[in-house]
């Protein structure tokens, strides 16, 4: 019957379209996964390199710290020596 033929053709066309969309979706998914992996590895390497080449921020101030009070005059011998070793 002409009506049945038309519905069958429409059904086949729809199935064919769905298969095509499905294949495209699957390929896009695989491509996306591959890109994610590549980007992830690249970012990890970049992050590691950045961390290692960054010089430390020491916990003490960024300058040589002066004493709270300068040395005071003192007589006699010392309890210890400050000299080179």
């Amino acid at each position: 019957m002409p009506g049945d033929d038309g519905r069958r053709a429409a059904s086949q066309a729809r199935d064919s379209g769905l298969h095509r969309v499905s294949r495209l979706t699957w390929r896009a998914g695989v491509a996306s996964l591959a890109c994610s992996a590549v980007i992830g590895v690249a970012l990890a390497r970049h992050s590691e390199a950045s961390a290692v080449t960054t010089h430390p921020q020491h916990s003490t101030p960024g300058q040589i710290v002066i004493p709270a009070k300068p040395p005071q005059p003192s007589g006699g011998s010392g309890q210890v020596n400050s000299g080179a070793s």
Binding site: Q57, H58, P67, P71, Q72, S74, S82, A84
Partner: protein, 351 residues
């Protein structure tokens, strides 16, 4: 508080002499001439106290020594250039390779060395390891000196050191690496850093005032004696009391002395010493033979005293600009001082 209220311990470490002074906090008892606590640690009171108070001091001094032993052993294992099992040796051997995990204490020691380099514009640079090896300083200094006039060692062309920017430290991640050909030596900062660490730990754990001297690099922490800790400033930390110098007192921070006259030897008939000029890779030829600096910490004092030797005449203005009290001695013995360092006019002051 008098000297009789101080527990004293002297021992060898890092190829030099260490001194621990621990202040007592109890009221002083009557003096007993010649008394000594002795004990398994070799600790002895530096004066005389009543027996009850002295026994407390001996116990405290023994605990202080135990803390110092623990901390100094950790520092030695981390950064000795002469131990095959140290982290520093492993890092030097891995130069040019990928970042290596390092211990927290090594990370802090390396951070201190890099900070010193940054704050001195590279004058105190840890990448002088290869230069020192080339001068024959490749083992404990006592062995270097005992070897006498050794022949020069070929280590490639002498020239500027590689530079501290070629040392990479991830302090948070505790990883470090060196660029190819870089060899580090932390001698310019590690001993002073260790003195600060020991003093801080002892004061915190014992609640006492303490002075730690590692080969003349001095750190103090906790409550100081009323008249401060008396320090004789001289060329050599092992000098006798009558040696030329000046006695001062300090009550906080650190005091360090750098000199070209003590850690010196000959190689191939040439007199050399251990303070390397990063610009040449050779022992620096300075107008100063000895520089002493007081600072907020021993590592800062030592950073500045070493940089001053390397900077030569320009060191005077630099020290004055940053407000660091310092005593600088020329080769002829004349003395310059900066930023409130007391006048040097007492008996025996002539350097």
């Amino acid at each position: 508080m008098t000297i009789a209220d101080v527990g004293r311990d002297t021992f060898d470490v890092f190829g030099t002499t260490a001194v621990l002074l621990v202040a007592a906090t109890e009221p002083a008892g009557p003096a007993v001439a010649g008394a000594s606590t002795g004990g398994a640690t070799g600790t002895r009171a530096a004066g005389t106290r009543a027996a009850g108070t002295r026994a407390v001091t001996a116990g405290i001094a023994a605990r202080a020594r135990a803390i110092a032993d623990r901390e100094l052993a950790a520092v030695d294992l981390a950064c000795s250039r002469f131990r095959p099992d140290s982290e520093l040796t492993a890092l030097n051997e891995a130069a040019g390779g990928r970042p290596r995990p390092v211990s927290p204490i090594f990370a802090d020691l390396l951070a201190a060395a890099l900070r010193a380099a940054r704050l001195t514009g590279g004058d105190v640079d840890p990448t002088c390891g290869r230069a020192l090896v080339g001068l024959g300083y490749d083992r404990d200094f006592a062995e270097v000196r005992a070897a006498g006039d050794a022949p020069a060692r070929p280590v490639g062309p002498v020239g500027p050191v590689p530079g501290w920017q070629r040392v990479h430290l991830d302090l948070a991640g505790r990883k470090a690496s060196l660029d190819r050909g870089v060899q580090i030596d932390l001698g310019a900062t590690a001993k002073a850093w260790a003195a600060d660490r020991c003093a801080g730990k002892i004061a915190a754990e014992l609640g006492r005032g303490v002075l730690v001297s590692l080969g003349g690099d001095i750190a103090v922490a906790g409550p100081a004696p009323a008249d401060g800790w008396r320090v004789r400033v001289t060329d050599d930390h092992a000098a006798p009391p009558e040696a030329p110098g000046q006695t001062v007192s300090i009550s906080s921070g650190g005091l360090a002395t750098s000199s070209t006259t003590v850690r010196a030897w000959t190689i191939g008939g040439r007199p050399v010493h251990h303070i390397i000029d990063p610009a040449t890779g050779e022992p620096v030829r300075s107008c100063w033979r000895t520089v002493s600096v007081a600072a907020g910490s021993c590592v800062d004092a030592n950073t500045a005293s070493t940089a001053a030797i390397i900077r030569g005449p320009a060191a005077i203005d630099w020290l004055r600009d940053i407000g660091l009290p310092a005593r600088l001695v020329r080769h002829d013995g004349t003395v310059e001082t900066t930023a409130g360092w007391p006048r040097d006019d007492g008996p025996g002051a002539a350097a």
